[in-house]
Symmetry: C2
């Protein structure tokens, strides 16, 4: 058994699943978005959480898949809110159809995520799994709202930013591991340790996204390098730079942020140079490493046989070392 | 015990409930919409379904309230889709805040509806209650999508229209009664009979809405008489008229439907006169009565002591005879 088994089991389950048929305007967008693909990171984490405690990970496939449906629901609605034209280089649902259809299809996806989760959870874990899922779903919405608030807010601190990405991104990775562990019968302490492990990995993962946007290898990074700089996106790098820049460097940074017309490559070069001067790359890498270390410290503490941990370690290292 | 006890118990529960605090942009719209009021018809139906079988209806208050939260979630999202500026004479959420906030607050409301329902349901009914709730939520979304499709479709049949309002409006009334009965320990047959009773009442109720828009008493009807006529809204009356009008009457109706500029009162008078000529009022009343009769036939069949049925009969008659 290895990671590719997990990945193809999730793929098989999701590709045979019927969300509904009529009206097609409601269900075609769900099939479309789910077929755009992705790393299926979250359901794989559910299966990884399960196999730490029990070999019959196939039992957790429907529950694991429900987390992917939930994640894609958030993408469908977030893309409306962000006015994003593309997702994985294809038109977003609200672009291909329209906003109303994207709102309503997303609503149904959230309901279908609950249904799929229920289908995959035995009675004895049903209430707890649904409560934790709902708590996590609430956090993810809160994170998205903070993210939208921060766009309008000039004065976001590093801690506020990390709390935002924790809610928007990391808690769902934490929940995925926790859910897998729960369904395999792990005790509460281990479930909670795995949840925190997943949250720390998630925060590190998101900070790495911020880093790769500026310092990624253009040949490997999926998106265009510097996209966040062009959009003045409040990433960890920009927040750190705004906090530490002084005198001319501060003036120069403010200048680039204030320009409404500019040559994109020139702005990317200039802002990257400011980041270089402020040592932002190292500071961000240190921060990322602190979250990954925290996570691996937790994993080490967990009372699980070391050989059982290998697969989760392998997957997490792949996540950490990715260049896109 | 009477209907006003039900109503104030729901009011008390909902007004002390905290959906969340931060970020306020996410939670203030929920409080705002829930405080706009309403008949609280759906939670009252849950309590009525419960008290048919058990006196401790207080036990069903949280579950009953969850149906109201779900209903208001659909209102928040429907108002975006319909571009409605007002709800109960107050600005809609997307008008008072913005569309993104209305999307995301609505999403959280759906999650909170699930949480509240779980809180209100004992373990032995949990899976069934949540499955039926999810099925109903899916139907409501399907109904809304059909409704949007019909706006673009010149050729909607009476049966298609009734199926649309069944999904969009009636199934939630059916589910409310079914849920109440389930939580009070009623057997499956009775739950199903009550669900169908609620659906029939719901369809009749919605058709009455269509009727009142044209033939309501202006002093009692909450909205402006003729609003549907001005907007060319495909109500039961218009669908019936389009099907039965011939020759000059058909031409005249098509003419009024095609005008983009008109004097509102003149259009209302003219279309109402066409309806009068086609006997649409009686035809609609007959249709409404057929659904109400079907419902009361089902109620009569149900193996419940007649005195237990009195309160549900009283409430339903109030619904049927309402003039607004």
């Amino acid at each position: 058994m290895n990671l590719s088994h997990f990945s193809s089991a999730i793929h098989d389950f999701l590709s045979q699943y019927t969300y509904g048929n009529q009206p097609t305007e409601l269900y075609a967008p769900i099939d479309y978005l789910m077929q755009l693909g992705g790393k299926r990171m979250r359901p794989i984490l559910v299966l990884l959480g399960y196999q730490l405690f029990d070999d019959n990970w196939q039992k957790a496939i429907p529950a694991a898949s429900s987390v992917e449906v939930f994640h894609n629901f958030t993408l469908m609605h977030d893309d409306i809110m962000d006015k994003a034209p593309l997702r994985r280089n294809k038109p977003t649902v609200h672009t291909k159809w329209n906003e109303n259809i994207a709102i309503l299809s997303g609503d149904v996806m959230l309901v279908k995520a609950y249904e799929m989760l229920m289908q995959g959870v035995e009675d004895r874990y049903l209430r707890k799994a649904l409560q934790k899922f709902s708590r996590c779903a609430t956090w993810v919405c809160e994170g998205q709202q903070w993210d939208m608030n921060f766009e309008q807010n000039q004065d976001v601190s590093e801690n506020e930013y990390i709390e935002m990405i924790r809610l928007k991104t990391a808690v769902l990775l934490g929940f995925s591991l926790e859910l897998g562990a729960m369904l395999a019968g792990a005790d509460d302490t281990l479930q909670e340790q795995l949840r925190l492990f997943g949250e720390n990995i998630g925060i590190g993962f998101q900070l790495k996204d911020d880093l790769l946007d500026v310092y990624g290898n253009p040949d490997k990074f999926g998106k265009q390098i510097g996209g966040d700089i062009i959009a003045n996106k409040k990433t960890f790098l920009l927040i750190e730079a705004l906090q530490t820049a002084e005198n001319e460097l501060k003036q120069e940074l403010d200048h680039w942020l204030s320009l409404s017309e500019f040559e994109p490559q020139e702005k990317i070069r200039a802002v990257t140079k400011i980041y270089d001067n402020l040592n932002i790359k190292t500071k961000t890498e240190d921060k990322i490493n602190s979250f990954f270390s925290e996570a691996f410290g937790l994993l080490k503490e967990m009372k699980i046989a070391p050989e059982r941990k290998l697969l989760l370690e392998e997957f997490t290292k792949w996540l950490i070392e990715r260049e896109s």
